[in-house]
Homo-oligomer: 753 residues x 2
C-alpha cells in the first residue's frame, strides 16, 4: 500500500514512512473532498536565519568576498543555461531520430501494403511500435521515479511558491524525466517535450548551485555558500526560466514565467541573472542544433518548438478582426475549461483506481495504441488529397490512396510529431486542409490529449493544446473566408490558426503575461502581440468562470498549501489571533537536551520551528529568538551540549559549514542516538537561533499578516502579545487554508493524507 | 532667491517656504559635495494604515464590493492607456506638422539661394526658427513649471521608488511638458519625444486614478477609494508603462520598465493591469495615427518611434559576429560613461551659475542656434552626394551642390527629425553614407546631445543616444566590410547601426532587461534579442566601472534618498540600533491637543510619523500604534476633541472620506487655528492610529531591516526593545544614507538643502 501512495501523491514519502493512507485526501469518505489541505508538505524558508554564526561569517567577509560570490552566482547561472540547453538539444535530437525511424518504418510498410491490401498489418505495426516506446517510458517513470510523471510544471510552481515537494529536484528525477519524455514523444502520444524542459531546468539549477549531488554522493566542495533555501530557490527560478527559454526560444518569456510563478520580491540583480541563464540556454540549444543540422554558426533554431516565420504580408491584422479574435478567445476559454473539467474527473478516477504501477504502465500503453489506431483510422477514412507542392517540406508525406503527386492531408496532421503538425497548420498555404478534416482532427485530438495528460509518463500539455487550437483556429479562418466569400488576404488561415492556438493554450493553462511573451517570441514577430494578449485575457476570464487552470487544478488535487498573491479580499475580519496555531511549543534559551529530543520525536505535532523564550515564571515567555528543527538536529548530532563543552575543551566549535553539509536532507530525529546521561545535559541555543524573527501583534489583520509572510517568503511568523510574549505561530498552512469560495470566505480542513 | 531654488532643485518648495538656500547640497563649502542626502524629501507610504476606520470599511464591504473595485481598477487602467495614447498621438502630429513647416521653409530658402549664393541667409532663417521654437518651450518650462524640464524619467524613478517629488504628477506639469516637448523637438534640438511620454503617462495615471483635479478644483466624486499612496503608486506604475509603450510601441517593455524601476512586490493582478494599460496605450496611438495617415484600420504605427522592418535576409547573425558585438558593447559603455561624466560636470555648472529662468531660456536658445549652425556647416561642407533612389523616402532631401538626381547624404542625418535619421541609418542600403560623414556626424551630435540634456526644456535622451550609436555603429559596419574586403551580407551596416544604437543607449541609461525588450519590440523582430542583450550587458558592466547611469547621476545630484534593491553587502555590521533615529517623539493614546499642535509646529524636527504608546511611568512607553502627521492634521482640522464630543452629541463621527478628501495636499499645521481652550482638550487617537505597525528588535541587522522596509514599501519602521518599548524609528533616509563606496561602506550626511 505504501508503494501505491508513492505513485500517486506528491507528498507521499511512501519509501520512508509506510503508514500513509493510499488514496488522496478524504477518498475514504466515499466522496472526493477537495476542500482539504495536506499538512505533510513542508515549506521552504526564504528568510535567512541570521544567527550569530551567520552574522560572524558575513562580517568577516570583505567587499571583495561579496564580489566573488556575485561572480559565482553569474557563473552558476551560465552553467545552468548551458546544461539546460544541452539537455534540450539531447531530447530534440533523440526524439527526431527515434520518431524518424518509426515513421520511416511505418511509411514503408504502409506503402508496401497500400496496393495489395492488408493495411491492418501496418496498423498493428504502428500501434506496437508506439506502445513499445511508451511502455519503456512508463515503466521508467512508474517503477523508478513517479515524480518524473507529467510536465512537472505544477510541481515547479509549488516549489517556487515555497512548498517543498519531496524528490522533485533530484538528479534521478531528471534522468527519468528526460528518458521518459523522449519515449513518450517518440511513442506518438499527444504530448509535447516542452513542459518537461521547465522541470529539467529547475533540477539542473538545484543540482549545479549546490556544487554536489547527494544521490551520487559526490561533493565538489564548491558553492557551499549557496546551500540554503534562499539561494537555492533563486537558482531554481533561473533554471525554470532557462527551461522555458530552451523550449520555446523565448528568453524574456522564460524570465516572466519565473517571475509570474515564483518571485514575490522582484530583485533587479536576480532578474538579470535569470535573464542571463535564459539567454545562454536558448543560445546553447541554437548553437548545437545548428551544428547538428549541418549549418554551424547559423543560429536559426532558438527553441525546441519553432513556429516558423510568418510572412510579412499576412501578419497584418485589421481593426474589424479584433472582435473575431475576442470570440476566438472566448471559445478557447470554454474549450479549455472543458478540457480541465474532463481531466479533473479523469485524474480523480486515476487516483482512485489506477494507482498500481503496472496498471499505470498498461493504461499508458493502451493510450498509445489507441492514439495509433485513431490516427490510422483518420488517415485511412480521409479522402482529402492535396497536390504535393514544389516546396513541400513534409518529411513523411503519405500518398495512400491518393493519386500520384498528391498526398493525404490528414496524414500531415497525424503522421508526424506534434511540433511539425503545428507548424504545418500555421504555414501551409490556404486550401491545404479540408474543413471536415480539421473538424474531425480537432475532436479526435482533443479527446486523446485530455486522456493523455496525467498518464504516468513524462510529457507536457503545451504542444497538444497548441495543436488543438491551431486546428480549430484554422477551421475558423477557413469558415470565415467562405462566409465572406472572398479569398481576401486578411482571412489567412495560418493567422487564425495562431490565434486559435493561443486561445486554446490560454484556456487550458491560464497564464497571460508570460504566455503572451512566449508566443510572441516563438513566432519571432511582435505584430501579433496585441491580438495574442486580447485572446489570452478573454480565454482566462471566460475559463476562470468555469474552473481554474489545469496546473492549479492539479495542485489543488494534491492539497498543496499554495499561497496566492494576496489574501482573499473579504478576510479583514480575521486577525492573527484567529489564524495562528496555538499553543506553541517554545524552548528556553538554555534548554535540557531531553526535552528537545522529546519534542522533536513527537510525531503528532511535527513542528519545524520553535520560538526561543526567556525563562520566566510567567507563561507564556518573552520571545528572544526562533530555532528550526533542522538546526536542532544538527546540534544534537554534533552533541553541542553545555556540560560536554566544559569538560572537553578541545570540543570543536560548530560552524555554518556543519549546517550546510547537512542541507537539505537533514537526518530524522530517530537516527540520532542520545544517551540517558546526555539527556540530562543542557544545550545553549543562543548562538544558533535567529535572534530577530519577524513578529506581529495578535490584532494584525489577516491581509496584513499575509502580505508580510508572502513578501518576505517566511516559513514561521511569531505572534506576540503587547508584552512580547509568544502567543502563537503562523505558518503557510494557516494562511493557505482561507480561500474565496462561491459564498465568501471558506476555510479548508487540514488533514494528513 | 527662493525663486531660484524652485527652478533648479526638485525638492525646492520655494513657493511656500522661502528660506531655502539657493544652491544644492553643500555648494556653500566651495567644493561640490555629492555625499549628502536631502532630508526635505518625504516618502510615500506603501503600507496601508489599518486603523479602525479602515478595517470597518473593509469589513462592511461585500465580496461583490471588492469585485466592483477590481473592475474599477481595470477601467482606470484602460483610461490611463487611452489618454496616454492620445497624448502621444497629439505630440506626434504636432511635431510632424511643425517640423514639416520648418523644414519646408528652410528647404525652399536653401534651394532659392543655392544657385545665387547667399546661403548665410538660409542659415540665419534656420537658426532663428529653431531658436524661436525653443524659446517658447523654454519660457513655458522655466517660468511656469520647472518640474516639466528634462525627460522626467529620474523623477518618475524616484516616485516609483517611494520618494515624494513635489509637483511632479500635477496636471500643470503635464500641460507644460507636452507643450515643451513639441517645441523642443520642432526646434531641432538633439532631443527625443519619447522620454517625456513616460512622465506624461505617470501624470495621467495619477490624475485619472484620483477622480479629481486639485489644480482645476474639480472633484468627480469617483474613485475615492483609490485616494491613498498605495493605490496611487500602483496606477502611476501603469501610467509609466503606458508611456513607454506608446513611445516605443513596446507594451511588454513598458511593463518591465515599471517593474524594474518601481515595483518591489510583484503582484500578478497588478502586472496584468499594467500590461493592459500598456496594450491599450499602444493600440490607441496606432489607431489614431493610422486614421491620421489616411489608412484607418491598418495598425502599422505602434509607437512614436518605429525602427522600421528589418529585412529577413540581413537579420541573421553568425557566431563569429558575437565578439564584435561585445566589442561594440564595451565601446558603447565607454562612450556612454563619457557622456555621463561630461553631463555631470555640466549639470553642476548649471546648478551653480545658470539658475535664473531668463538665463536658462537664453542657454536653450543658444543651444538651438548652435545646433542649427553646426548642422548647416556639416551639410554645407560635406560633399557626400548620393543618387536619389527610386524608393527614396527622405521627405526633405536636399540637393544643395549635388548633381541633379542626387542628394546630400549629410542632410539626411541633420536635416530631419532625429527619429527619421535613426530610421535612415538603420535601413538605407549599404553605400548610402560616406564613413567620414558618419564620423564627423557622430562627434558633432555627441557634443550637441551632451550639451542639450539638462537644458530647461522638456526633452528625452533616448533618441539622441540611439542616433549617436546608430551613426558610429554604421561606421563600424562599413569599416568591417572594408577590412574583410568582401561586401558580404553579414556586414550589413544597418545591423551594426542597430547594435551600435543599443550599445550607446545602454551605456548612457544602463537599463538591461527592460531596454532589451523595448528595443526588440521596436525592431519588431526577436532575432536580435540575444545580441542586444549581450551588448547592453557589456555596456552596463563597462560603463558602471566609470560612473553610474545618467538617470542615477541626476538623482544623486538632487540628493534624493533613493533606496536600491538591497542593502550594501558589507552592512551586516550595523544593526537597527545604529541606524535608527532616536529619541522618538511619541504620543499617548489619549493626548493633549496642545502637545500635538506644538510637536507638529516644531519646524526643526518635522517628523511625519509618531508612535503611539501606552501611558506609563516607565520611559520609553510600550508601543500600541503609529499615527501619521497627515492624520493628525485632519483630526485637528475637524476638531475631534474628547471634551467637545461629549458635550455635543451631534458631533459627526470622522470617516475615512474626510481623510481621503484631504489627500494628498494636507494643509500645513500653521493654517489650522486651535484656540487656547481647545489646547487643553484631549484627543483620542485609538480609532485613527494604525494599531499594528511593523516593528523590529534593536539587534536586527541592517540588511534585514532594509529587506523588510523595501519589500513592504514602508515609510516608518518602529524599533522596539524586548519589552516592546519604543526606542527608535527607521525611515527612508536612515537606510538610504549607507552606500558602498570605493573603500567599503560609506555614510552620507544629512542636510536640508
Amino acid at each position: 500500500m505504501a508503494n501505491i501512495s508513492k505513485k500517486v501523491s506528491w507528498s507521499g514519502r511512501g519509501d520512508d514512512r509506510g503508514e500513509r493512507t493510499p488514496l488522496l485526501n478524504g477518498a475514504e469518505d466515499g466522496k472526493y473532498n477537495r476542500h482539504v489541505l495536506n499538512f505533510v508538505f513542508q515549506s521552504l524558508d526564504y528568510d535567512n536565519s541570521e544567527n550569530q554564526l551567520f552574522l560572524e561569517e558575513e562580517r568577516r567577509m570583505s567587499h571583495m568576498g561579496f564580489r566573488c560570490l556575485e561572480t559565482r552566482r553569474w557563473v552558476i547561472c551560465g552553467l545552468i543555461g548551458f546544461l539546460t540547453g544541452l539537455i534540450a538539444c539531447l531530447i530534440d535530437i533523440a526524439v527526431e531520430k527515434l520518431a524518424g525511424y518509426k515513421y520511416s518504418a511505418v511509411k514503408q510498410n504502409i506503402e508496401k501494403f497500400t496496393e495489395f491490401g492488408g493495411l491492418s498489418i501496418s496498423l498493428i505495426l504502428w500501434a506496437v511500435l508506439n506502445s513499445a516506446f511508451v511502455m519503456v517510458g512508463a515503466i521508467a517513470v512508474a517503477f523508478f521515479e513517479p515524480f518524473a510523471a507529467g510536465s512537472g510544471i505544477p510541481q515547479i510552481k509549488c516549489y517556487l511558491n515555497g512548498v517543498k515537494i519531496p524528490r522533485v529536484v533530484r538528479l534521478k528525477t531528471l534522468a527519468i524525466k528526460v528518458f521518459g519524455v523522449i519515449c513518450s514523444v517518440a511513442g506518438g502520444l499527444a504530448v509535447g517535450k516542452e513542459g518537461p524542459m521547465i522541470h529539467s531546468g529547475a533540477v539542473v539549477a538545484a543540482g549545479v548551485s549546490q556544487g554536489r549531488s547527494t544521490s551520487l554522493k559526490k561533493d565538489f566542495k564548491i558553492f557551499e555558500y549557496f546551500r540554503r533555501d534562499t539561494e537555492k530557490r533563486d537558482f531554481v527560478s533561473a533554471g525554470a526560466a532557462a527551461g522555458v527559454s530552451a523550449a520555446f526560444g523565448a528568453p524574456v518569456g522564460g524570465v516572466l514565467f519565473s517571475l509570474e510563478e515564483g518571485a514575490s520580491f522582484w530583485n533587479q540583480m536576480l532578474t538579470w541573472r535569470i535573464f542571463f541563464a535564459s539567454m545562454i540556454s536558448t543560445f546553447t540549444l541554437n548553437f548545437f542544433l545548428s551544428i547538428y543540422h549541418g549549418k554551424p554558426g547559423e543560429l536559426s533554431s532558438p527553441g525546441l518548438i519553432n513556429f516558423g516565420r510568418f510572412d510579412s504580408d499576412s501578419v497584418q491584422y485589421n481593426l474589424y478582426e479584433i472582435p473575431l479574435f475576442i470570440i476566438m478567445g472566448a471559445l478557447g476559454g470554454v474549450l479549455g475549461a472543458l478540457f480541465n473539467v474532463i481531466n479533473y474527473w479523469l485524474t480523480i478516477f486515476r487516483i482512485r483506481y489506477i494507482h498500481r504501477p503496472c496498471l499505470q504502465v498498461m493504461e499508458a500503453m493502451l493510450v498509445a495504441a489507441v492514439t495509433a489506431t485513431v490516427s490510422f483510422a483518420m488517415i485511412y477514412f480521409s479522402n482529402d488529397c492535396q497536390p504535393l507542392g514544389q516546396d513541400n517540406t513534409e518529411e513523411y508525406s503519405l500518398q495512400l490512396f491518393c493519386a500520384d503527386g498528391e498526398y493525404n492531408s490528414m496524414a500531415t496532421a497525424f503522421f508526424n510529431t506534434p511540433e511539425r503538425s503545428v507548424r504545418s497548420l500555421f504555414h501551409n498555404p490556404p486550401g491545404s486542409y479540408n474543413p471536415l478534416t480539421l473538424g474531425v482532427f480537432t475532436l479526435a485530438y482533443f479527446v486523446l490529449a485530455v486522456w493523455t495528460y496525467g498518464l504516468t509518463v513524462s510529457a507536457g500539455v503545451f504542444i497538444p493544446s497548441l495543436l488543438i487550437g491551431a486546428a480549430w483556429g484554422r477551421l475558423f479562418g477557413i469558415l470565415l473566408s467562405t462566409i465572406t466569400s472572398s479569398q481576401s488576404i486578411w482571412a489567412d488561415p495560418g493567422k487564425y490558426a495562431l490565434i486559435g492556438a493561443a486561445a486554446q493554450l490560454g484556456g487550458i493553462v491560464r497564464m497571460t503575461l508570460s504566455l503572451t511573451v512566449i508566443l510572441v517570441e516563438a513566432t519571432g514577430s511582435v505584430t501579433y502581440g496585441f491580438p495574442i494578449m486580447l485572446v489570452l485575457m478573454t480565454a482566462k476570464i471566460v475559463g476562470d468562470y468555469f474552473i481554474e487552470g489545469l496546473y492549479d487544478v492539479h495542485i489543488k488535487l494534491q492539497s498543496v498549501p499554495f499561497l496566492h498573491w494576496e489574501a482573499p479580499p473579504t478576510s479583514h475580519w480575521l486577525t492573527a489571533r484567529e489564524v495562528m496555531s496555538s499553543p506553541v511549543t517554545c524552548f528556553n534559551r538554555v534548554e535540557k537536551v531531553g526535552r528537545i529530543v522529546d519534542v522533536l520525536s513527537n510525531t503528532s505535532t511535527n513542528h519545524n520551528g520553535f520560538p526561543v523564550v526567556i525563562l520566566s515564571f510567567l507563561q507564556p515567555g518573552k520571545i528572544c529568538g526562533l530555532i528550526l528543527r533542522s538546526q536542532l538536529i544538527v546540534l544534537l548530532k554534533h552533541k553541542v551540549f553545555v556540560e560536554r563543552a566544559s569538560s572537553r575543551l578541545s570540543h570543536r566549535k560548530l560552524q555554518l559549514k556543519d549546517f550546510r553539509d547537512a542541507y537539505p536532507r537533514f537526518p530524522p530525529i530517530q537516527s540520532i542516538h542520545v544517551s540517558q546521561d546526555e539527556r540530562e545535559c543542557m544545550m545553549d541555543l543562543t548562538e544558533f537561533m535567529n535572534p530577530t524573527p519577524y513578529t506581529v501583534p495578535q490584532e494584525t489583520s489577516l491581509p496584513r499578516v499575509f502580505k508580510l509572510f508572502r513578501a518576505l517568503g517566511l516559513r514561521h511568523l511569531v505572534v506576540v502579545d503587547n508584552e512580547n510574549r509568544v502567543v502563537g505561530l503562523v505558518t503557510r498552512k494557516d494562511l493557505a487554508r482561507y480561500h474565496l469560495g462561491k459564498d465568501g470566505l471558506e476555510e479548508l480542513h487540514l488533514a494528513q493524507t
